[in-house]
């Protein structure tokens, strides 16, 4: 496999892990976060510092990065999840920017704005693939269990969710922590793939990219998130030859997708072989009906 292709697969995989986290938070619980790049940043720096300065094994460093991001998510969520929709969003936005600025200031720890270099290149395609599979299975089993049902209940109708005994505060916090852990996990893989970090990689644009990807893929759908990640990560690559116009085309593509399919590529349903089968059957039946009608007309 060529190095370029491997690089692309690694990039899609890392983005997918972060997007799955946002998908659980936004797609299933309808909490919008514009601070998940902050959690990515925390995971990335934790992992980078542990592997570079303390020679901690990579796997342990990834777990530490994800766990630390989750811990910060727990603290932030406990403080802010009582706020309603938009207000919560603003606090996450503030959080993301705070992390960026903080990491620029604490130069002895993070290398500051100059960046953090010399991170060992540990991330390879196998670690990313295993991570993606684990992350996907966990997200799938979570959303296809009572936990996922509680989250969708909050998404659909919060007052009614409480009226049937769903502890909405606890479930929202769980979704937020899971999304922070996923972001930290993705950040950790990213750090040891890039070998160089600077705080501004994880800016507001990165956070909004994660949310845009989730919305394009389709809210409430993990397979949709997968599809969305492929589209959003690959589009700029496909248009690479057009150099400076590529971001323009990328923007247009995003707008077109949202206009044509407002619920996203795969909103509120999962990709399934049986549904595809049913769809073909229906198509076949339609064609058959049309043919019969044609026969009658003759």
């Amino acid at each position: 496999m060529s190095g370029y292709l491997q690089g692309i697969i690694i990039l899609v995989g890392i983005n997918l892990i972060a997007v799955l986290g946002v998908s659980i938070l936004t797609g299933f619980t309808k909490l919008f976060s514009f601070g998940n790049a902050g959690f990515m940043s925390i995971g990335a720096y934790t992992c980078a510092i542990l592997t570079t300065r303390y020679n901690v094994p990579f796997i342990v460093a990834i777990i530490a990065g994800a766990a630390f991001a989750g811990l910060v998510g727990y603290g932030l969520g406990s403080l802010t999840l009582g706020l309603q929709g938009d207000y919560f969003l603003i606090t996450t936005l503030g959080f993301g920017e705070c992390v960026r600025v903080l990491f620029e200031y604490i130069t002895p720890v993070t290398g500051g704005a100059k960046g953090f270099s010399g991170i060992p290149h540990y991330t390879n395609i196998w670690i990313v693939l295993i991570s993606v599979i684990l992350a996907f299975i966990f997200a799938w089993t979570l959303t296809h269990s009572k936990y996922g049902r509680n989250l969708t209940a909050i998404r659909e109708q919060e007052v009614a969710a409480q009226a049937v005994g769903v502890d909405t505060a606890k479930n929202k916090l769980m979704a937020f922590v899971v999304s922070a852990v996923y972001a930290g996990w993705a950040g950790a893989l990213y750090a040891n793939s890039l070998t160089f970090l600077e705080p501004k990689i994880f800016n507001l644009a990165k956070s909004s990219e994660l949310t845009i990807t989730t919305v394009i893929g389709g809210l409430g759908s993990l397979t949709g998130s997968f599809l969305g990640t492929c589209v959003v990560t690959l589009l700029p690559e496909i248009f690479r030859s057009l150099s400076s116009y590529r971001m323009l085309l990328y923007g247009i593509a995003v707008v077109v997708i949202i206009i044509v399919r407002p619920s996203g590529l795969y909103g509120y349903k999962e990709f399934s072989i049986t549904r595809i089968g049913k769809w073909f059957k229906k198509l076949g039946k339609k064609a058959g009906d049309a043919k019969r009608r044609g026969d009658v007309a003759e």
């Binding site: 966990f138 269990s145 009226a163 049937v164 005994g165």
Partner: protein, 255 residues
Amino acid sequence: MSEILKICGLNKNFGGVRAIDSFHLQLEEGKIHGLIGPNGAGKTTIFNTVTGIYQPDSGDILFRDKKITNSKPFQIAQMGIGRTFQNIRLFSNLSVLQNVLIASNMDITYNMMQSFLRLPKYKREEEQLCEKAMNLLEIVGLQDLADARANSLPYGHQRKLEIARAVALNPALLLLDEPAAGMNGEESVELVGFIKEIKTRFHLTVLMIEHHMDVVAGLCDHVTVLNFGKTIAEGTLDDVKCNKLVVEAYLGEEK
């Protein structure tokens, strides 16, 4: 007969408006009690205070002799008070079955790890849950629509689904907020039979708000009549019908 719900001296103000004014209620187990009164009398506010959505300014609410006044809505639901809403609040983008499943989540004891590994416990409990939900849908007559999206159902079915969802919680007390709203005479008659059936089958005590007097007459053992937050009459429907204050509240003062 023991009291399942006891409300003493309940007060609730919204700004300068006294929405509930020293409200008292003693509800015996197995009874159906009606709350009636003109619009804005404070009936739904009482429901919202009992279910913890509003905190009362003063007064006590006791459910099975336990004070629930400071509990959160989900805790009150878990204790065994199910409710429906005046303006139907279903999980509209989810299927009919999912709506009932969510309300049955309390029956589940597996944890996140057991679900992640899909252990037999997860499978067994999910199967039991599905079975219970389908049984419940059969009772309300929605079994054929289990996969339909909740907001695609006709209005009457949505009301039934909401009741089914409340019953899936295994409540001891069911609060119904205008179950017959928007129904015609025939549908109301059917609803009366339906509520009676689920009441006996699930051993429920029911507190209901209703404007349709034929529904109230068909179901309620006792009624409380409210006007501007104040209780103006109590007793059987026949008792309160002749009460002067009640007639005035509905029709205005005789000149």
